[in-house]
Amino acid sequence: MSLFHDLFYGFGIAVQPWNLLACFLGVFIGTLVGVLPGIGPVGAMSLLLPITFGISPVTGIIMLAGIYYGSMYGGSTTSILVNIPGEAASVVTCLDGHQMALKGRAGPALGIAAFGSFIAGTLGLIGLMFLANILARVAVIFGPAEYFALMCLGLSLVTYLTQGSVLKGLSMAGLGLFLSLIGQDVITGKARFAFGLMGLVDGVGLVPLVMGLFGISEVLLNLEQLYEKREVMKTRLRELFPNKEDWKRSAMPIGRGTLIGFFLGILPGGGAVISSFVSYATEKKVSKHPDEFGRGAIEGVAGPESANNAASSSGFIPLFSLGIPANVIMALLLGALMIHGLRPGPLLITENPEVFWGTVASMYMGNVMLLILNLPLIGLWVQILKVPYRILFPLILLFCFIGAYSISANVFDLYVMLVFGILGYTLRKFSYEPAPLVLAFILGPMLEQNLRQALILSEGSMAVFLTKPLAAAPLLVSLVLLLSTILPSLRKKRQKVITE
C-alpha cells in the first residue's frame, strides 16, 4: 500500500505546472536530439544542465531525465527513415528498420518502435519503483569500503564493455580519475594540480568537459560529412499502426527486449546501447526465420527498441538507491543532483522523496507524452530531419558555448571545453571512447573520499577490502575483468562477444 501511496505523492509533484512543463520540454528536446544525428542525449543534457540551476532540483531532474528517455524514442526515427542512427542505442534499429522503410513499411516500423518503447518504458518504471526501494534499504549498511568496491566494479564494467580495446578504455578511465582530482582536496582543502591557473583551483568543470568531449568533438567529427544529403523516406500517419500480424510477431520480442533491457540497464556499464544489441542478437537466435533479419524483420525493430527504453528506466535504480551511476548519462544526472545539493544514495529516497517519486511519476507521464509526440507528430520530425547539417552545426556549437559560459560567466570554461573538444575528437579518431573518462571523472571524488575514509577507519589495513564480503566480491569481479584483458584467450572471447 505504501508504494502506491508514494506513487500518488509523486504524481502530486509531477502534475505541478512547472514540473509538467519541464517533463514536456525534456521529452520534446529528447525526441529532437534523438532525431537529429550529431547531438546525443549526453550533449543535450550537459547543454541544459546550467539552465536547471535556477529551478528546483526535482524540476531540473524531471527535465534531464526526460531528455534521456525521450532520445531513446526519437533515435529510432532517423534509423528507420534515413538509415542514420540519431543516437548510439538506435544503431541496431537501422538494420531492419530501414529495410522495412525501403519496402514501403516505414509506418509499421515507426509504430512498433513507439509502441514497444512505450510498453517497455512503462514496465521498466514499475521495476524501478520496486527494486530501487528494496536496494536503497539494503544499501544503508554499506560503508566506505563497500562503496569504493562498487565504484571500482562500475568503472571496470564500463571499460570492459566499451567497444574496441579494453586497454584504451582503462587508460581513459585512469585519465578521467586524474582529471577529477584537479582542484581542492576535500579533506585538507589544499589546491592540487592547478598549475597556477585560477580557473583550475575549483577543478575542471563537469559541463565544459562533457560538452567538449561529446558536443564539440561530435561536431568536429561530423564536419567530414558536411555537405552530404540525406534521403528521407516518406510516410503517412494512417500507415503508422502495425497490423495484427505485426503485433503477433512483435509481442514476444517486446517482452524479451523489456527483460533484457531492464536487467542490463541496472548493471554498471550496461545501459541502452548494449541492451539493444543483446536484444537483437537474442531475437535473431530464437527466431524461426533468422534469414529475415537484416532484410526488414519487424522483430529486429521491436526487440531492440523495447530493450533500450527498459534500460533507460532501470538505469535509474543504481543511481537513486546507491548513488552509483550505471552509465555516462546517469553520471551526468548524478552530477546534476550533486550540483543541486542533493546526496544521491540510499538515503535519497527517504530524505528527498519528492525527487525520487516526482521523477518516477513524471516518467509515466513522459512516456505517454512521447507516444503522442512520436506518432501524430512524425511529420514534424521528418521536416526537422531535412534541415541540412551545415545549418545545424553552428547552432550546436553556439549552444555548447552558451551552456559552458552560463555556468559561471567565465571564459576559462570555454577554453576548457575547446581543449576537451579537440582532445575528444583526436581520441575518438584513434578509437578511444570518452564514456569511461566521464564516468571516472564523476566517480573520482567519491571514489577518493571512500577509499581514504576506509583506510583511515581501518588504520591503513588493506584487509578491510577483503574481509567484508560486500567489498571483496565486487573487487574480485573487477580483478577478474581486468586480468581477462591481459590473457589472450579471454581477450579473444570478449572481442567475439562485443563483435556479435
Binding site: 586497454l167 580519475l177 561536431v219 553556439l398 559560459y405 584483458t485
Partner: protein
C-alpha cells in the same frame, strides 16, 4: 597499427609517470592517513601500468589485431581545412568574447560558421547569424538571465 599503439602506449607511460611525480610533490601520506596526492599517485601508476601492458601486448602479439587505418583516412584531406578553420574561429571567438561582447562576437562567429563554402551566400549567412544572435540573446540574456559579456555595445 603497431607503430600507433606503441606511441599511444608510450604516451600513457609518460603521462602516468608525470602524474606520479606531481602527486609526490603534494604529499602522498601513508596508508593509515592518505594525503592529497595518494589517489593521484595511484592513478599515475595505473596509467603507466596500462601503457606498459599495451606495449607488451603489441610486442608479443603475432599479428596485428586491428586493421591499420592510414593517416589520410583518419583525417580526410577534404575536411582538414574546414576543421582547422572551425577550430580557429572558435578559439578567436573565445579570446575576444570578453572584449567585443556576446552580440558582436557571436554575430561574426555565426557568420563564419554559416558560410557555405560550396556556394557562398554572404547576405543569407549574415541574416542567419543576425537572427541567431537576436533569438539567443532574447532567450538566454533576457528570459533566462544568463550574463553575457557586453563588450563594445551597451547590450
Amino acid at each position: 597499427m603497431k607503430r600507433r599503439v606503441n606511441i599511444g602506449a608510450l604516451s600513457w607511460i609518460v603521462l602516468g609517470a608525470l602524474i606520479c611525480f606531481l602527486a609526490r610533490r603534494i604529499r602522498l601520506g601513508t596508508f593509515g592517513e592518505p594525503g592529497p596526492g595518494f589517489i593521484a599517485f595511484g592513478a599515475g601508476l595505473f596509467l603507466s601500468g596500462v601503457g606498459i601492458i599495451m606495449l607488451l601486448t603489441t610486442a608479443f602479439s603475432a599479428a596485428d589485431t586491428e586493421e591499420r587505418a592510414p593517416w589520410g583516412r583518419l583525417f580526410p584531406a577534404g575536411s582538414r581545412v574546414r576543421l582547422v578553420y572551425t577550430i580557429a574561429l572558435l578559439f578567436v571567438y573565445t579570446i575576444f568574447l570578453d572584449r567585443i561582447g556576446y552580440v558582436v562576437g557571436t554575430f561574426f562567429l555565426m557568420w563564419g560558421l554559416f558560410l557555405n563554402w560550396e556556394r557562398p551566400r554572404w547576405v543569407a549567412s549574415m541574416l542567419a547569424s543576425l537572427v541567431t544572435v537576436g533569438v539567443t540573446y532574447i532567450v538566454f540574456e533576457v528570459w533566462l538571465h544568463c550574463q553575457f559579456p557586453r563588450g563594445i555595445l551597451p547590450l
